[in-house]
Structures are given as C-alpha cells and as structure tokens.
Symmetry: C2
Subunit: 142 residues, 2 copies
C-alpha cells in the first residue's frame, strides 16, 4: 500500500503480523474467559494474582487501570469467591488482594484451556520454528 520509506520504522508486514496475531490471541482469551463467565479483565486479574498478592494500587498499575476501576473489579471477583481482600497490618488503609483456593483452581483450569486452544494456532509451525518464535517474542516484550 503506502510505501512510507520509514527510516527505521517497523515494516507494514511486521505491524500487520503483530496486530493480527494479537487480535487472534485476545479473541481466544476472551472466548476462554466467556466460557467461565469472566471478562478478559477478570481473567487478567486471575493470571496476575497467580504469582503476586498486590495492593489495590499495584494491581491497578499491572492492569493499566485507575484505582477506582479496580475497586469494582475486585468487588465482583470477591462476590464470586475467586479473590480475597486482606487488610494490611503495616498500613490500616491498604488492602492486599489474593486468590482464594477456588480462584487459584480456576486460574489453573484457564491456563490449561488457553494452552489447548493456542496449540492448533501453532499447528503450521515446526517445533524449531515455535522455539524461534518463542525466543523472538520474549525479546520483544522483555
């Protein structure tokens, strides 16, 4: 399409690949989330809490959301019994968010399901290519 002789710009092909692959992955994640009556954000919360017990503000930072948005998010997760609010002992204002056993269980199930669904997406790639892709993506996000 537009040539855009970009000095050092990402190529249109790479941009397209990244964007399309991302949408595909997000669609897959949304599907899995929906199967368990979760939003994508709730799914993210479970994933984040798998190896952290952050304060509300930290969780908000991880999610890239405002504190106020996370309040309601955590409310709903608590109502479902997936997440727990623990009062901090150091700071009477602060709250530590943690998975309940149910939440941890669900997080595991979801991880497995995502792997299940991601597998056919990578069908076209030989094992060596998968390893290559894995390495390249790691360097991309790292």
């Amino acid at each position: 399409m537009d040539a855009h002789a970009g000095r050092d710009q990402v190529s249109a092909e790479l941009m397209d690949g990244l964007v399309q692959a991302s949408f595909a992955v997000m669609a897959l994640l949304s599907r899995v989330a929906a199967e368990h009556d979760l939003s994508l954000t709730q799914l993210r919360v479970l994933a984040i809490l798998r190896d952290r017990e952050p304060m509300m503000a930290e969780l908000a930072a991880h999610l890239g959301l405002e504190r106020s948005s996370v309040s309601g998010l955590v409310d709903r997760a608590v109502r479902r019994g997936l997440v727990r609010r623990d009062a901090s002992e150091k700071d009477g204002r602060a709250v530590r968010v943690a998975l309940t056993p149910d939440g941890r269980r669900l997080a595991g199930v979801i991880t497995d399901k995502v792997a299940d669904l991601l597998t056919p997406m990578t069908r076209g790639l030989a094992p060596a290519d998968r390893r290559r892709l894995s390495g390249l993506l790691a360097r991309l996000v790292g």
Copy 2:
C-alpha cells in the same frame, strides 16, 4: 511450574510470549485509540473499513460481535462523522457501512501512529530477526 508433559501442547514459554506480546500490542493500540477519543473497537472498525464496505452483518462477523452491538457502535461513529451508512439498492433492508473522508484520514493517522509506537518495541530485534518474526507471525495467523 506444572510440567504437563503435553504430547504436542504449546510450550509455556510460547504461550507466555504470545499472551504478553498481545497484551503489549493491545495496550499500545488502546493508547493510540484513546489519544483520538476512540475505543479499541472503534479503532478496529476504522481499520476494517479501510479496505471494505461491508453490510452490518459482515462487519459484525469481522468484529466477532452481535449485530445489535454493532448498531450502536456504528451509530456513535456516524455521529462523529467517521463513518457513513449507505442504503443498499439491491436490498431495502440492508445497509452498507463505509468510511467518510474524515474517517479515512483518521484511519491513516492512526496507522502511522501505531507504526511509530511499535517501532521502539522492536528495538531489541535486528532487522533480520524482525523479518523472521514477521514471517513466523504471518504463518501463525495465516
């Protein structure tokens, strides 16, 4: 964590890479969208309409949304002057959705901006690696 000697499962590393890279790309897209007072979905609509003038139902299929969701989406885009609803001549019920000149202009600006922001993400990759990644992603989504 869990070994899960998956017969042919996607590796935990690849899953992580794909998911994390996708979230990074989506965050970037959301940021660009927000800069122009658009939601991620509105941004997608503009991108889709760049090379199509679909019926409402086709647009819904592209987005993976219900028809009813797309009605409001298009309403708001029309109100902003980004998108046009053309009555089909073949079918008195059908509506063709198309970009207005303003919408097309904005779509172009956004594409450029996305390329701009994607570039630093790929800073860690040598040109050859970028091409490799591009090819691998193409095969992933293709």
